[in-house]
Symmetry: C2
Subunit: 81 residues, 2 copies
């Protein structure tokens, strides 16, 4: 079973890395791009013996405790069979 | 319109950062986790005046040319209205 965790900065938090990418992209001529924000993405392989609910609980605990900083980041978990 | 770009290391490429996270996670007692791979995630805001096809073409060019290293990384693009 695979869990996918997406970690993004909260909307109110500045993202200087995203701003730098946006600036570079503008110089390359992509004029339709109005904003870029960078996040993190994790693919977690979980033993097939766990139920989907247990796997989701594990992945959410992992995302909250290890993979994200809940003060400045949000996360989202998807489970794939 | 929003484009989401997911960049992951190709399966054949070693991911030492993911391995380090997996090791830390094991020490914390998550025994059901058999592997973790870390990727990048970008949210790109694209002018609403572009059609969905144009936005996808832009986002794919951006992902290929700027956001990923095609030698060691794969990418996936999703368009959200």
């Amino acid at each position: 079973m695979k869990a996918k965790v997406y970690v993004t900065l909260k909307p109110s938090v500045l993202d200087p890395q995203g701003k730098a990418i946006k600036h570079a992209v503008e110089l390359l001529g992509f004029n339709a791009v109005s904003d870029i924000r960078k996040g993190k993405y994790f693919e977690i392989a979980i033993d097939g013996s766990r139920s989907a609910d247990d796997a989701r609980a594990d992945a959410e605990k992992l995302a909250r405790d290890v993979l994200s900083n809940p003060i400045i980041e949000d996360f989202r978990v998807e489970i794939e069979q």
